[in-house]
């Protein structure tokens, strides 16, 4: 797995420069708690070099909003909605309640303190 660090300001620029639908397969988004921060990850696979997984990641604070990727990766809205519901991450233009019911516990996959 190739990991590429980015930040919220450059995220759309970096992924936009990398991702070509005919060359890359968007796998999923993920988030990992790292102390007080959250590592948000975007996984891609390369059609030309199929075994190679590329992971863009950005370390964010819980109150920061992650830019939505729908205009670059058309299917990203499903993964974004999942992270909003399961990890309580704020994503631009994504509401709670796609994956879970709106009144469900917030961020059930967050580690219990």
């Amino acid at each position: 797995m190739k990991k590429i660090e980015t930040n919220l300001a450059d995220l759309k620029k970096d992924i936009g420069a990398f991702y070509k639908p005919e060359l890359h397969h968007f796998i999923v988004m993920n988030a990992v708690q790292c102390g007080d921060k959250m590592e948000v990850q975007w996984f891609f696979n390369d059609y030309a070099y199929p075994g190679e997984t590329t992971c863009f990641y950005a370390l964010i604070s819980p109150e920061e909003e992650v830019p939505g990727m729908k205009d670059i990766v058309a299917s990203a809205w499903v993964a974004e909605a999942e992270l909003v519901d399961l990890m309580n991450i704020k994503v631009e233009n994504t509401m709670k309640g796609f994956v879970l019911e709106p009144d469900f516990e917030s961020g059930p996959l967050l580690k219990k303190k």
């Binding site: 796998i27 696979n45 992971c55 994956v99 879970l100």
Partner: protein, 362 residues
């Protein structure tokens, strides 16, 4: 412009036995817009795998993510854990994992085909397909001890060996199944009523499959040559046992049926090659190490690419486990491919997606 109606389908619906809800906006019976809502049942399996269970127990937990493709989940998890442990497993264990994955693919594809027949109004074909599918369930029970939720792959290898007489039983039953498969192919391919219901219906183009990152038979029926078995030789040697990519171009329900039927032939060939060339070795590689670092694994489940991410912290309990089921990748494509179709075709289209929300709502 005609009057528009909103028609809800699911979560409890006769043609959609999954916790998935679609809202179709229709005009003159034609679907002009689809909204989807998934899940309803969050089981917290990922959280449990990172808090309640030790990493060696997790393969038994993820086996409960899905009854239909539990071998895919247990194998993908075992592989990602083996990457974290830097563990190479015996060749016989790799072959046996592939054997059960392909037996599982046969029963899963036949189940999907039977549901497409049922939702197309062809009850007799539904029953015939289910009847013919039974042999694969019996073989899975003979190999794994269970008809579903077989805890076959474990971290380091496999839990059971294949007895020579079970291998011969599999070969004999596959031989008996071949004329039944020919019969099914004839019906699914040429039956006029089924063709009217399935051809040109629920079309997804190759461009849309690429744009929406669709996976599995759904993508291959649209002409997108993606199959993880073609890509991960280091984990399981698929090409060594006769894997071959199957694609179509029509992208409709009929094409998805035919992809699944043709893939069953490939699965049979792979199983025969495995049994005839099963290497002699141990079944398990032991280690006392604890998982450390990050790793990802992709595996071709019956519905497409299954993805596992794991992060270890040198303790018995994982820091993070992420599961991405194939249906999750297909949600965007599923929503897209309804548009422009008659509402009456929706049931067959849904079945042809082969959605598994049990995997998705893990």
């Amino acid at each position: 412009m005609g009057r528009q109606y909103e028609i809800p389908v699911g979560a409890q619906h006769i043609s959609l036995l999954e916790p998935l809800h679609f809202k179709f906006t229709t005009e003159n019976e034609k679907i002009i817009r689809t909204d989807a809502n998934v899940y309803y049942v969050h089981r917290g399996i990922e959280q449990a795998c990172c808090s309640k269970f030790k990493f060696r127990q997790v393969s038994f937990v993820v086996g409960r993510v899905c009854g239909l493709c539990s071998i895919s989940h247990t194998t993908a998890y075992s592989q990602v854990a083996e990457k974290l442990l830097k563990l190479d497993i015996p060749k016989r264990a790799k072959y046996l994992r592939m054997l059960v994955i392909e037996l599982d693919r046969i029963h899963s594809h036949l189940l999907c085909l039977s549901h497409v027949a049922e939702n197309s109004g062809f009850e007799a074909l539904f029953m015939k397909t289910m009847q013919y599918r039974e042999f694969s369930m019996e073989l899975l029970e003979a190999v794994c001890g269970n008809r579903i939720q077989y805890d076959f792959s474990i971290v380091g290898g496999v839990a059971r060996d294949l007895k020579p007489e079970t291998g011969q039983l599999i070969l004999q039953r596959l031989k008996n199944f071949m004329p039944q498969l020919e019969e099914l192919v004839g019906i699914y391919q040429h039956n006029r009523t089924l063709s009217l219901k399935n051809k040109g219906v629920g079309v997804l183009s190759k461009d849309d499959a690429l744009r929406l990152n669709v996976v599995g038979p759904f993508a291959r029926a649209a002409g997108l040559a993606v199959d993880v078995r073609n890509e991960t030789e280091d984990l399981l040697p698929w090409k060594e046992v006769g894997f071959e990519m199957i694609t179509d171009t029509a992208g409709d329900v009929h094409a998805r049926n035919m992809i699944r039927l043709r893939e069953i032939y490939i699965s049979i060939r792979i199983i025969q090659n495995i049994i005839n060339g099963l290497p002699e070795s141990a079944l398990l590689t032991e280690t006392k190490a604890f998982p450390d670092g990050e790793a990802t694994v992709r595996l071709e489940a019956p519905r497409g690419e299954l993805f596992y991410y794991a992060k270890g912290n040198k303790t018995q309990v994982l820091e993070r486990l992420k599961i991405k089921a194939p249906t999750f990748s297909n949600v965007a494509g599923m929503v897209h491919a309804f548009t422009g179709n008659e509402y009456g075709s929706a049931a067959a289209i849904i079945a042809s997606y082969d959605p598994c929300l049990s995997c998705t709502a893990r």
